[in-house]
Amino acid sequence: MRNILLAALLLLSPITYHLSPLYAQSDFDLANIAYTEGRYAEAAAGYEALLQQQQNATLYYNAGNAYFKQGELAKAILNYERALRLEPNHKDAKFNLEFAQSKITDNIEEHDFFLSIWAQAVRNSMHEHTWIILSIVLFLLTLTGILVFLLGREPWLRKTAFHTAWVALLFCIIAGVSANSLHKRDTLRNEAIITQGIVNAKASPDRSGTDLFTLHEGTKVTIRETLGEWVNVKVGKNEGWIPAKDLERI
């Protein structure tokens, strides 16, 4: 009897058999099915519900895709950024983030100095913890190098140790600075994405303030200061106040 019921349910089910909700193991699968069938809003809600329980790069990435398909560029970018926070080497998230960024109106990168863009890319290429471990390892290498240089007998060994030591120290400093910068970024959460379609940055935290520049949906900004319902943001060389409700911290 039960088998018949199950078969009937299966027949009624319009969903492809391998993704049938009867076999869905979890809310994650349900959300994936919703995405597969083009019910993007439902999929996004499903991923968001799971993200309430735990934060995971895959969930952020999938949620970003669901938002992108709905045309919610800002939310898509926000979720890709969050996915990359957790997994800096998530290739798909990187690709999709770049794709989504190509659709936004503002072209901020151009205003930044190329070195700072490059430094940011280096910093973001690895997770904070990876940087920490790397910095410690490199520090140990530096110390070893110094010791070998000072205590070693063989000239070639001492020479090698000397060069190893300074190169390791240089990279140790880079790793340390990167870890520090990432730690600061993640604790301060001072990066945000503009969620409002278009927003004017003002010279003062006040509706009547002079309009300085216009920001569009999806643009990444750095928060410098918060004052009531206003935040002072920096984009490239521009600084201005925008309402806090028009952006969301990554």
Partner: protein, 610 residues
Amino acid sequence: MKRFFSIFLIIGMALSVFADEVVFKTKAPNQVIAGKPFQISFSVNQQGRDLRAPQFTDFDVLSGPYTSTSSSTSYVNGQRTSTFEQTYTYTLLATRAGTYTIGPATIKVNGKDVQSNGVRIEVLPEDKQPQQSGQSGYSGQSNQGSQQGEIFVRTIASKTKVQEQEAIALTYKLYFANVEGLQLTNNIKLPEFTGFLKQEIEQKNLQAELEHYNGRNYQTAELVRYVLFPQRSGDITIEPANFEFMTQVRVRQRVRSIFDDYFDSYTNVPRHATAPAVTIHVDPLPSGKPAGFSGGVGSFTLNSTITKTEMKVNDAFTITLEISGQGNMKLLKTPAIDWPEGFEVYDPQVKNNFNITKTGFKGSKIIEYPVIARNAGEYTIPAVNFSYYDTQEHSYKTLSTPDYTIHVARGAGEAASDSNQPAVVNYSHTQKEDIKQLGSDIRYIDLSGNWQKHQQRGFIEYGSMEFWLCFLLPLGIAILLLIILRKRIKENADLARVRYKRANKVAQKRLKAARAALKANDKDAFYTEIERAAWTYLSDRLSIPTADLNKDNITALLVQKNVSDALIAKVMNVLSTAEFARYAPTTDHAMDDLYRDTTTLINELEEQKL
């Protein structure tokens, strides 16, 4: 008195009975002159009977009613049109000046009572003796010799004291009496109306009316009517206007032939009339104009509508402003809407639905602003302010529309739609087929189950104690090591000393090699080893760089270090022997001697503790 007699057409009669609507009208002149008979007629378009005329209480009935009927039938494109009219005419005489009403008449048509319209008749007083025509405050007249009949044109301004932009009706009115065949020619010279915006009120046809003016009854006609809007303040004089008329004057000619007698002969005589100048005093608008003053003067109302406030990105909508009222509508500035960013605003479309009247433009001006929402979000379209000067309340007034809050939702597939546009990219000029980029889209979601993977927390937190310990501990150990082994560091730091210390060791190594060569009877290797042993030992012991290594330097340094001359001689001997022996034929005995000498020399030098 006119009478129309026409032929009865039986068919026309018969058909007219079935004409659809009964029209029964009273016809009478609007103005009559006391003491002069006039006609009033009642006409019906169907066969009627039993006319009951109204009571002509204020008039004397001189004669009537005369009944006349007329009918006509016409064929146009095979369609027959028939008209029928039955007219009852009375001749009346007014006795006293004033305005009187004549009530409706009743007639029976097809057994039903039909009523006509009532009429008002203005009875003008009788002509007095012609007087010198005077000038009133705001009008003037020009007179032309009365013996030929009187023609003059008055300039009538509705107001002579107005505010800037307030409408003035200016009429050139023709008055004439005892003139036959009057015609207006094209020779009209109107003033420039400098300082005014002028708008002519078109007249379909000139209608002559009777008017009692300065004691005389004139036929009058409004020649030209303007509405003027003063554009500047001060006294503005409107120059006189000239009109030329043609009048017919009967000419009495000598009878030349028998036929001439039958015809009256007329000559056209041009007559000129000048409408006098008039000065308008224009007061400026009071100070304190509101910021967004539209230039409007009059009385207006403002309405606004919006097609929708909930929309998606790229949806179009329209805000419509309707300014209605009366005043200088033509000069109103189109109010500007302070659009928020994110909207594509097109040029407003203005529809003018106003007509010119004697009190200015009347009607409405509809301004449509077509807009396309280009960005999602919530926006407020601020109120539109429209300021004008109210001529009735003599103050500035500002009308406002409500604020509109607009929700722009993201359009479905707004971002995705772009990605469907194929972007064909070709990079190469070769015959090879490049991969063609047909489109681009985001990568697919991650369906793998590793969503439950907990984000690994690093075992070391940045800035934590463990973190710093990871650096400080090895650093401490390293420092400790360095302190313990500082002697070695010191030794390492002195490279020369190392060489000094190692000199004997190296020399012994070489001597050992030389000995091996001696045993193997390898002459070349033996001498090379011996020579090297001696030179390297001296170089290391005396700290002489290899480049500066020569016998003179060695001698000088050994002398400096208080080495005995005998030993110096021994050193030189060994060096020379080793140098020369390589190139000279030697015996095994010589080689043995050299080996022994070198060994003792190094030992002796070692004892010297150089």
